[in-house]
Symmetry: D2
Subunit: 356 residues, 4 copies
């Protein structure tokens, strides 16, 4: 496994859904930075389940305990380790023998890769619960970025066919960012919330789930970050984002729409504005040649529908080596998009701090 | 700069458009593998310009010279270095002072990043010409993969609004792969070629350019490759693919379409077929939890229109610090999608070999 | 900070002497391996203090708690995280303002590097206590190596001027290895123990400390591991070994003695023995061109005297910016060499497993 | 193979003794730095063979050709690639089948590792000739370091039993450094030169070779560079140094001598001198806790005798699978220590620049 990310600031995620605890080690942070622990808790609360009917009613106790790297509110320079204990795991009540892999899940691929030795309880290391330490790491990194004037915000761009208004790619209001950063159901146009919730509720009532997209923006980043070729901003962000379960696509700026455009439409003209070079459009999503151009970085990710659905599904029985049917019990998020918003912000923060 | 990729097989790309030469060092190859040099040249010929009106009529002499790592047709285990000399560069005929950055190009971001010291002639290190050593590296890696039964093929999925037929995601014909691997204008449905060429020709006649998409498939790869989280197959491929200039999006399997689907539609049911676990659909693009599931890996990338167009464009004059207009002379590809197909195959080969 | 090591098996050490806990994340272990937890505890006990008068009488509770990566006695493939809580830290009873850096310690360099924000209590992240999670990681790795027939043993080569008998470099007895692996004062010739203990006791009585050397051997490793140049066996081991506090030198095979030899003396002749290529001497320490030659790997490290001594020492007062005198109170190991033996074995195990 | 080093400034060495060329790619250099090409040539001349009787009379044409990364005398920010063509290789006149591995050489280990496919002519990738591109890389890095006030100098510390005067570890004269940097037989006390040359000549006349030690110093480096644990200065330098063929040991400060000292002797007392914190001795070699303390970095390396000697030696015949005798013809350096001095300086420069 390689649950590590980063070269300057390295994060190393550990834990399994039903083990003793999950957490993260963050190596490379600058000593002396002040970290507001409440801000970390706020971000973790945004991701935590059980807030409403779009999410699973399971109760997770996500309070992170700092083992090292902080003294009071100050980073010491030592690796920062935070642990979240798994409190309500009942490991006794089911075995660890994978019989029927759930379609759309990592059950089967983990079974093959880990010689049937992986901890399958609750998804093990593949559980969405492992995004909690990612949010922790992101919450630390984004505070450091904010001290440099860099802000990160994401919103639910769409759930099913219901779409939010996109970011204005050339200028993103600071108050909007702050509002999104506090929201558990982050939308630019809050009027679409009820429609989106209906889509999720419909799926839930059908014992089904639904996907969506998330749009993310990074503002206040100067021109010149990122490297050409394989450490370009797109690649660095993509590698971080695809570390989040259920993400199956990413596009920067106009993304796939660019494929239908002509150069005269897609090229962003340069101009001077208040003595600074800007572009009058931002179809490139703030990145040219893999390097930031000083405009907001804009990207969207595709989130697949939660694979855990309560309908009967076709699968195989790996023990009996025959086709089988599967009904998953238990409570699952019919749509993980709202909870994935702070996770996308978090991995983006970790990616961006590695470009500095 | 960090023009390197890979942990097991590391490639390190060097060169500038108008320097003495470009090339690649490939470190980590297994000694004793036989490499067919003609197959390398064939792949490089597919990428080379000047074949028809979709491409620039410039003549590049792309013959790679092996400096080390091969003795006869056998890899020695030492780092493989190949150099392509830049023969027809006329460095005398223009200076190296960037005045007006071309919209959509890396001119401005490179100017900021490299303190105005980068070699701007022909785009320097950002030139599309640097994809030639990438194709070389890919051509070596794909031969090694083919010996393991793994094949990689891509095709022009769309140019503008004209679309090719997509791959059948659950079964890809070996003969189709071979045909695509030989083609300079790779299409599954060759009947769309004339329509696509018209779109490109229209753009060219309008002094404009046009974008497109490329679909790529990897067949014959067993279940179990890739790591969870940040070294998942999606992230590893994405990081490689975004190293290619002009790529602005990537999606795996159904990708962004998944965002509009329900779990009952998107989950790929497992079944036994000839004693092997397969999925009856392949919406996940052969990847679950970041790990291959044994089905073909399928992904699509978005290629933006060539930023070099001959129309007058708005930009800034960085010397005079004022707005300016720019007309780019010279001959440019009105559409780089056909030539980008072997480049996408190449970076995919480099990515896949790093998963082994 | 970068308290991480390894590319295939990555270990990430965290913790500070007086924080909430210390530990390690080990990423990349193969699922399905059986690990004997008691063997881990045995190794940790060898390093633990308080066993006799050569060591500090402080009591550390070094019982590691597994948070993830093991289910029962089996590795799951997920990152293995072990935490050791710091139980008897009394953080209230002294401040965190460095006034007078201890000579020979990292106090001053950490003060400069971490902007005076590092946790100085008990040495913080630089504390020798951080070698406990290293021993944990090594104890896991060496069990995996032992399953491949590779054993690692070290002994106290010298303390002050008292020397143990060195390993027979061409053949190392398996029973000797087992005996050393169980010993807390590991010696080949156990007759020198009383003399060595006298040297340590003399130093302790003089409120002083004393250094020594450790010799380490790796047996059962086949020819062909390691890479030429910068990932050679010497470099890989050296990087791991210099991660251990107080190590100031390393030499392989005859090491510095080779500098006084002639080639006709130092070259190890090859010969066939039982159908296998061996060398009749082993001056190269089992490594040629950075690659193992199938003979035991042999190296020695220099351990400086514990810098914490109770004599009055000259230093500076960083607050008052003037010269000062310092008397360190508290109990310290007058010689850390015996406890460093299992630590050297541990980092060697981590290094060797990264060569596989 | 992994002939790459570094994380911030990555060097990637390629080439084989009898291939078409050898060279280096340096990735990560800062654009805009001025590089004096003559200074590079001067350093390469120091390493080049054929200067006198201590070295082989073979003539190498070591003129490096810059393929990319420099425009005039200025770094462009693109990867810097330099190639040295192999001109006088006659590949036709001997085969590539290893029969009898030379004792002390990498012949056997490379044979095992590379499945007998490595290019054995002239040592292939293991040839000492590969240190030429290392010196090139070092010569670039040291110029950048010199602009920051950091200088690196090494001298022949000993050949056989003849020793030079060591550096004064607390203060190293700048003029001495400059003189050593220009010398092909670098000595602090030039009076020992004739004695040393006699030792080498004696070995040569006996168809033998002789080893030695090199001492290296880095001056002008501020306190605070390096990381605790595995990226400490000792480990970073050691990994670079062990990339040089024939190096079998390294010690920092007093090194192995520390093992015989007491803490009261080895601890370097701090004091204020001209308002700056210094140590009055420098037994730790300028490094505490893996971090520079502002004093000169001092280390010594052990160089084994050249394994190529003309005496008859015992070895095996790998084809016939029997013991054999071997007489190596051709001309070889009876002592590589003088030529290794600029190589050690070079890898040190590459290591130090990676700490910045």
């Amino acid at each position: 496994m390689s649950s590590t990310y980063g070269s300057k600031i390295k994060i190393s995620i550990f834990g399994e859904s039903h083990g003793n605890g999950i957490g993260v080690v963050i190596d490379g942070l600058t000593a002396g930075e002040k970290i507001d622990f409440d801000k970390i808790l706020n971000q973790m609360a945004r991701r935590a389940p059980g807030k409403d009917k779009t999410a699973t009613p399971r109760k997770e106790s996500d309070l992170p305990k700092i083992l090292s790297g902080m003294l009071g509110d100050t980073l010491t320079g030592a690796p920062l380790c935070a642990v979240i204990e798994n409190t309500n795991t009942r490991s006794g009540d089911y075995g660890n023998i994978l019989s029927c892999p759930r379609p759309g899940h990592s059950d089967y691929t983990a079974f093959v890769k880990y010689n049937a030795s992986n901890d399958i309880r609750g998804g093990g290391h593949f559980s969405g619960r492992l995004t909690a330490p990612i949010v922790f790491a992101g919450a630390v990194c984004r505070q450091i970025l904010e001290n440099k004037g860099i802000k990160i915000a994401a919103h639910i761009n769409s759930i099913g066919n219901v779409c939010d208004t996109p970011f204005n790619p050339v200028e993103i209001d600071s108050q909007l960012i702050d509002r999104l950063n506090r929201s558990s159901f982050a939308l630019i146009d809050e009027n679409v919330e009820s429609k989106m919730r209906s889509v999720v509720e419909d799926a839930r009532m059908s014992l089904d789930s639904v996907g969506g997209t998330i749009e993310c923006a990074v503002t206040g980043i100067d021109a010149g970050f990122g490297e050409p070729m394989f450490d370009g901003v797109e690649g660095v962000i993509a590698k971080a984002v695809f570390g989040v379960p259920a993400i199956k696509g990413i596009e920067f700026g106009k993304g796939f729409e660019l494929s239908k455009m002509r150069g005269s439409q897609s090229n962003d003209p340069f101009e001077y504005k208040d003595g600074k070079v800007v572009t009058s459009t931002n179809n490139c999503g703030g990145i040219l040649g893999g390097i930031t151009n000083g405009m907001p970085i804009i990207f969207r990710v595709a989130v697949k529908p939660t694979p855990s659905i309560s309908q009967k599904q076709h699968t195989v029985d790996l023990q009996k080596k025959e086709n089988a049917e599967l009904e998953i019990h238990g409570r699952h998020d019919p749509c993980i998009v709202p909870r994935a918003v702070p996770v996308i912000e978090a991995v983006t923060a970790v990616a961006i701090i590695n470009l500095m």
